[in-house]
């Protein structure tokens, strides 16, 4: 018991936002040298519990114990000072400051009255190299990619000498390889005796790195058990309250080979080079590749969000797409991977967000708010959006529910061709199943879908055909039975490209 002494514990923690109760009497104990995974559906209250544990929000009732002593964190700085550090689900970085300034933000090293810039630079560099990234500490955070920002967040926590480190979905934006690096760091910290709480919707990942798992459902504690006592399927069942073993629907059989979209020699200056592909009616076309391989840029070029050259045909007719409005006119829709930065107006309610893209459908002279409200009602039930209260600001929705709202927003314009960039980032397994079956139904109803995903299983499980990209070029195409993890990786890493040509 000695070496396993409790580091941080929540005792009967409840939390309400106004009349909406989010957590119900949760008990949770984090022990030094232990990786504790917190899992649950979107909106189950994981992030909220983490914020309460780390002083970002006070509990409505219940209390915290730090090393067995009752403790009240006045704010997050107080918690950090006591060694309890949270890495947010949403980034908490100052975009216009350099990486090193961010890492040391609030605990700058001093050399006399001045900042010890050299010392901070060297330490930042060291940390970043330990995290196996090539980030230059002098770069602006605004110029970093999403996974790079995550690495900076992790470096920031490491510099704070956390005794208790809480991570909210750290791997949601990382590729498998980047996640591996993170897990190495987690293991290192665990061996140093840090208590770690972490959440993820990737259950196999939980299975491999956690020691203990706690499941939350609808704000209530379901079970806490050693990870060795629970299979991935059992975890999923506890989370969702039903069996979710058939994650992917049976792939539909493509009836004809009618081509609805034909892209030829599309180039986005500096990003995408000479990409050509075709999309058939009722087809789900996957785009695989490493992060940074140009998949998003290709699609943004296609729908007019970036300048692009090349030829595009829809239903055989050559068209020009200069802006997203042109794309919409041709019933082509793009769902961004960056739901917070590009997808949703976080300080507004669900209704204006839902109808923003398809507002024309609600304008008869004036905006018909009743019709909007009806559409929202329908979206909430169609996409199973869970929010405490319909007037909640979208920024306060849980990540998964934001994703569902974004999906609802895009589908409201009834596109014939939908490009979905990372459809299930940060989404729980039950909802994933719903989204996969939604994509499948979409294709069966004669629409065509392009899915970009960094999750290999997703591309493999959904697609009729897969295009693999590498360094801005399409380097491989796989169909039917040939679609597999190994074949995709070979193309993505450039092992198969020359052999096939």
């Amino acid at each position: 018991m000695e070496e396993n002494s409790a580091s941080l514990a929540g005792v009967a923690v409840s939390k309400s936002f106004g009349p909406v109760q989010v957590l119900y009497g949760i008990d949770l104990t984090l022990r030094s040298g232990e990786v504790h995974a917190l899992i649950g559906e979107n909106g189950a209250g994981k992030s909220t519990l983490m914020k309460v544990l780390c002083g970002y929000q006070g509990p409505t009732s219940g209390h915290l114990l730090l090393d067995g002593q009752r403790v009240v964190f006045h704010d997050s700085a107080d918690a950090e000072h006591k060694g309890v550090v949270l890495i947010h689900q949403e980034f908490n970085l100052a975009e216009q400051l350099s990486v090193e300034a961010n890492i040391f933000l609030g605990r700058e090293m001093q050399a006399g009255a001045l900042l010890d810039r050299r010392g901070m630079h060297d330490r930042s560099l060291q940390l970043l190299r330990e995290l196996e990234t090539e980030i230059d500490p002098r770069q602006l955070v605004a110029d970093l990619s999403v996974p790079e920002k995550q690495m900076v967040e992790i470096a920031k926590a490491l510099v704070r000498d956390a005794r208790v480190l809480v991570m909210d979905e750290p791997t949601a934006v990382l590729t498998a390889k980047e996640s591996e690096v993170l897990f190495k760091q987690i293991e290192r910290l665990r061996q140093q005796g840090v208590a770690i709480l972490y959440t993820s919707h990737k259950l196999d990942e939980v299975k491999s790195i956690a020691n203990v798992v706690t499941v939350l459902r609808d704000g209530r504690h379901v079970i806490t058990a050693p990870v060795s006592d629970m299979s991935v399927d059992q975890m999923a069942t506890h989370m969702v309250g039903r069996d979710v073993s058939d994650l992917f629907p049976q792939k539909s059989v493509l009836a004809g080979s009618e081509i609805v979209l034909e892209v030829e020699h599309l180039s986005v200056p500096g990003r995408v080079f000479d990409a050509s592909f075709a999309l058939r009616r009722g087809e789900i076309l996957g785009f695989a590749g490493l992060v940074g391989s140009g998949r998003t840029e290709l699609m943004e070029g296609l729908v007019g969000l970036r300048h692009a050259d090349g030829s595009i045909k829809i239903n055989g007719a050559p068209i020009r797409i200069r802006s997203l409005r042109d794309a919409s006119r041709h019933r082509l829709a793009y769902l961004t991977e960056d739901r917070k930065g590009h997808g949703l107006l976080l300080n507004m309610r669900m209704r204006p967000n839902l109808t923003l893209l398809g507002l024309d459908r609600f304008v008869h002279g004036l905006i018909d708010e009743k019709a909007e409200e009806k559409a929202l009602e329908k979206a909430i039930s169609d996409f199973d959006i869970r929010a405490g209260d319909r007037t909640v600001r979208v920024g306060n929705l849980s990540g998964g529910n934001q994703q569902k709202l974004l999906l609802a927003k895009t589908m409201l314009v009834e596109p014939d061709i939908v490009i979905i960039d990372e459809p299930t980032r940060g989404i729980d397994i039950g909802t994933k199943q719903q989204i996969y079956s939604f994509i499948d139904r979409l294709a069966r109803s004669g629409k065509s879908v392009i899915v970009i995903s960094s999750e290999m299983a997703e591309v493999i499980g959904l697609s009729h055909r897969v295009m693999v990209m590498k360094a801005g070029r399409i380097v491989g195409e796989l169909e039917g039975r040939d679609i597999g993890e190994e074949s995709i990786v070979r193309y993505a890493m450039g092992l198969a490209g020359s052999a096939a040509a």
Binding site: G241, L344, M348, L359, D360, T391
Partner: protein
Amino acid sequence: MSNAVSDRIAAPRVRFKLSVLGPLLALLLLLILGALLNGNFLTLGNIMNVVARSASIGIIAIGATFVITSGGLDLSVGSMAAFTAGLMIIIMNALVPTLGTGWMVVVVGMLAGLLIGGGAGAANGLLVTAGRIEPFIVTLGTLGIFRALITFLANGGTLNLNFKVADVYSPIYSGNIAGIPVPIIVFAVIAIAAEIVLRRTKFGRHAAAIGSSEQVARYSAINVDRVRLMTYALQGALVGVATMLYVPRFGSANSSTAVLWELQAIAAVIIGGTMLKGGFGRIWGTVVGVIILELIGNILNLQSLISPYLNQAFQGAIIIVAVLLQRSKRAAD
């Protein structure tokens, strides 16, 4: 996934928020204070007078509500008003020989005011959108330019409207329709129309979306530049309308016409609860804000304890309190 939707998502409830009630409360307090200080304060005549006098700035502030809601800023409205007034007077005076001194001249002058204002606003908008320059910089620049132009046009002195034309024009400011002063009617009609435009039209919704996040707006197929341009052009046109009411009031324009109106307009917008960083706007709040600012001056004039010279100090204090209230609103939810 099992419970019914209705269990999970409660219907919207009516909530009374300080941020909504704040401006109204302040207005009420001022009315009570005024009534206590002076028996003549709460007379219909005095109140109508206050509102009529605030109409010009109020109409400009309504335009500013659109600009600020979409995440922009227009500092040039005061000098734009002076410049527009100056040009209107020059044009009307120049037309007297051909059109005489009747209504015709006045109508042409008013139309010119609308066009000049709208054009000046569109120029601001083009510099911001096509020129990709910060609105603060653009409108700080045009603030100087318009102010210099009116000084230049007036040759350092004052431009006076032809006396006869001024007589014909005067009812636009001092006249009544069914007992209500014309400026109040114009102000009210514009405010109601603006509230509808901001809340219930595509343009209004898009303006708020852009102010909330330009990127999200772009990814939602909104023509960001066009909507922005329209907010500045609308602001300019409303400066034109405000000037139409201003010219018959004084019949002249000079280099100190409408000085600091931009600050009054922005102050009214903020007091009314519109977010300075964009994304949310409220026309009725702006109207209340303008009236509050005008009432402070009126009350200071009606009493003798506090020097009316402190007027601006009170206005300043109210703005700071209003922003504090906005912040407590954000912290609360």
